[in-house]
């Protein structure tokens, strides 16, 4: 009798925990993207809003602002959903996925996911001279000549900025954006050290 009762109590607890878990879980959580990439997608959009490109970065005055993902897309459909129909700095936003850095040279924002770590140095070398805002998520991204590097600290997505590279690429970053950065690198990186 007592055994039966213990079983019932255990079953009740389980039910309670399950309901609680169901309640606390965000409704939007699906298989599409992790919360981290959702935030990173929003960051991409917001960063673009605080950046000014030189006029030669665009083919025409009404050309769209092109955001490219180099290699694999870690956002799933999230970035596309967020960006489509947005207007930033008077230009509509277009999301593209490119396989090569050379092709990405025509984009204004290029996100290089961690999956491209192996080709990172090559990619950045290709993009270095183009008026492109490069955004990465690997620890050596800035050292290799990237402009903005995402990292996760205390469960929060943060970023460092390599202002020297931005200046070299002719991409102007808003001072407010700089003030939000964890670290801002002002001097050009000495490549010999790596």
């Amino acid at each position: 009798m007592s055994c039966h009762r213990r079983f019932l109590a255990r079953l009740g607890w389980l039910l309670l925990v399950a309901v609680a878990a169901r309640l606390t879980q965000p409704a939007e959580v699906r298989a599409e993207a992790t919360p981290e990439y959702k935030i990173k997608a929003v960051y991409l959009l917001n960063i673009a809003r605080f950046v000014k490109w030189p006029t030669n970065a665009f083919a025409a005055a009404d050309s769209p602002l092109v955001v490219c993902i180099l290699g694999e897309n870690p956002f799933d459909n999230e970035l596309q959903k967020l960006m489509s129909g947005r207007v930033v700095g008077g230009r509509t936003v277009v999301v593209k996925q490119e396989a090569t850095a050379a092709a990405a040279k025509l984009c204004q924002v290029v996100f290089i996911p961690a999956s491209e770590q192996a080709n990172l140095r090559l990619h950045l070398a290709t993009l270095r001279t183009a008026p492109v805002l490069t955004i990465g998520e690997t620890p050596e991204f800035l050292d290799e000549g990237g402009v903005i590097e995402f990292f996760v600290q205390q469960n929060k997505v943060r970023f460092d900025i390599n202002k020297a590279q931005a200046d070299a690429a002719g991409v102007q970053l808003d001072s407010q954006l700089l003030s939000l950065a964890n670290r801002v690198r002002e001097t050009p990186e000495k490549r010999g050290e790596h």
């Binding site: 960051y43 917001n46 809003r49 605080f50 207007v87 930033v88 700095g89 407010q176 003030s179 939000l180």
Partner: protein, 492 residues
């Protein structure tokens, strides 16, 4: 207002000047403070708008990246603005995102009360503005500014203006006290002069000359009036002195006249009294001679004796009449109400024999009662009716009419007595002479008499403050008109 009207001119003028200048200054100060409040408030709102705009602009990235720490850092820059008490950022759906407060007690504004624009409330100025980035409203910024600076500034200004006002009041008081003498001094001097003139009755005083304004003209006129009064006063005084002198002379004359008149009356009275004594002896011894020695005297002697007796009798009548005449004043009785009908009845009964002898008729109309000396009224009627009987026509019986009429025409009311006869009359030219003592119009042979009767009548009437007049034509009777006052103020 009653208190104000009782103030001296000087005070009144000062009070008016003070009241006018102080109220004008007060209005100006109030206007100044009002304008200052308006301008300061406008400037404050303007400043706060700028600050809010800048702060909102600086918070765009923080709002975009939902970076609360960064937003709080940005808001904390308000530490440098001592007026800003609370600064808060709200999300577009009006949820509080980040806040900074100067004091720990500072509270972010409830999001429900969030409305764009500024609002003055409870000594605080609230400013809410949307934060717009890239054409998109990304949140709201709300600033709460303390108005202490403005209130302090206004209080300081009010204090300074109050001080200025008080200093101005003192200055206005001092200036008005100095300047009002220009107006009041001549008036006060004028008043002072007028007061002295009326107090001392000294019309030779003059108010001091003043400037050529209305007051100056007033002073000139006043001085001219004083000159006129002075001249008039001098001539009046001279006239009064003259009159006094004349009056004195008149009084002396009157006193002398009275004295001599009294002497005369006394003399007449005493004389006639004393004259009677020897006359009585003459008559008495004349009578003895006639009774005892008539036979021995002979015819001539008797004739002489008769003439002597007649003369003595005449003299006695004369003396009696004279005594009566003098008694009108010496034995005068005070006036008392007298019934004239009774008086006339008495007189007629006295004269009854003579009326019967002459077959005369006396018609008397009802007469009123007047204030008079009863005895003298009797004398009056006795003489007048007696005269009418005496001077009758030889061929016709006398008809005498006595009437009395009350005349109210000119107050006081008077009685007009008329005694009319159908006698011989007299020439109108003698109308005045008949009232003079001893004056006779006829020879002693024609009518006996002393010529005193009418003089007595006139004297009696005059003593009663009346008048007597006679009119006549020879052979057609005479009319005596007597006017007497009905009332005498001192009658009993």
């Amino acid at each position: 207002m009653k208190l104000f009207t009782a103030l001296p001119l000087r005070r009144k003028l000062t009070a008016i000047i003070m009241l006018v200048s102080m109220s004008a200054l007060l209005l100006a100060c109030a206007g100044f403070i009002g304008f200052e409040y308006y301008a300061t408030r406008k400037a404050l709102i303007h400043d706060l708008t700028s600050i809010t705009e800048v702060l909102g602009f600086n918070s765009r990235a923080a709002l975009r990246f939902q970076d609360k720490a960064s937003a709080e850092t940005t808001l904390a820059s308000m530490q440098a603005k001592p007026n800003i008490m609370v600064a808060s950022l709200y999300t577009p759906d009006r949820k509080l995102f980040a806040t900074w407060a100067r004091n720990p007690a500072g509270q972010a504004r409830a999001s429900t009360a969030l409305s764009e624009g500024h609002r003055l409330e409870g000594g605080r100025l609230w400013m809410v503005q949307p934060v717009v980035h890239d054409g998109e409203k990304i949140g709201y910024i709300c600033l709460e500014s303390d108005l202490h600076e403005m209130t302090n500034r206004l209080q300081l200004l009010a204090g300074i203006l109050c001080l200025v006002w008080m200093v101005a009041a003192l200055a206005a008081w001092w200036l008005s006290a100095k300047l009002q003498t220009v107006v009041t001094q001549p008036i006060l001097q004028l008043a002072e002069t007028a007061h002295r003139v009326s107090e001392r009755k000294d019309y030779s005083l003059r108010a001091p000359e003043s400037c050529r304004d209305e007051v100056g003209m007033l002073i000139d006129s006043f001085n001219q009036m004083l000159s006129q009064i002075e001249r008039g006063d001098a001539s009046l005084k001279a006239e009064i002195a003259e009159r006094k002198l004349a009056e004195e002379k008149l009084q002396q004359f009157a006193a002398r006249l009275e004295a001599s008149n009294r002497e005369l009356t006394d003399f007449a009275h005493v004389a006639s009294h004393d004259l009677q004594e020897p006359l009585r002896k003459i008559q008495a011894f004349g009578d003895r001679l006639n009774t005892k020695y008539a036979a021995t005297l002979g015819e001539t002697g008797q004739d002489y004796l008769k003439r002597m007796s007649d003369a003595a009798l005449r003299m006695q009548t004369l003396i009696t009449d004279l005594l009566q005449f003098s008694r009108v004043t010496t034995k005068a009785q005070p006036f008392a109400p007298v019934d004239l009908n009774e008086i006339v009845r008495g007189v007629l009964s006295d004269l009854e024999v003579r009326i019967e002898q002459t077959k005369g008729v006396v018609e008397v109309s009802p007469l009123p009662q007047i204030d008079a000396d009863a005895l003298q009224m009797r004398q009056l009627f006795q003489n007048l009716i007696g005269n009418a009987l005496k001077f009758r026509k030889p061929d016709a019986p006398p008809v005498i009419r006595v009437t009395g009429t009350v005349r109210n025409g000119v107050p006081p009311p008077r009685l007009e007595l008329v005694v009319q006869d159908n006698g011989i009359g007299f020439d109108q030219k003698y109308a005045d002479r008949i009232f003079v003592i001893f004056q006779r119009l006829h020879g002693r042979g024609e009518f006996e008499g002393t010529g005193i009767g009418l003089a007595i009548c006139k004297k009696i009437v005059e003593r009663h403050a009346g008048s007597i007049q006679a009119t006549s034509t020879p052979g057609d009777g005479a009319t005596f008109v007597i006017s007497l006052p009905i009332k005498h103020p001192h009658a009993d």
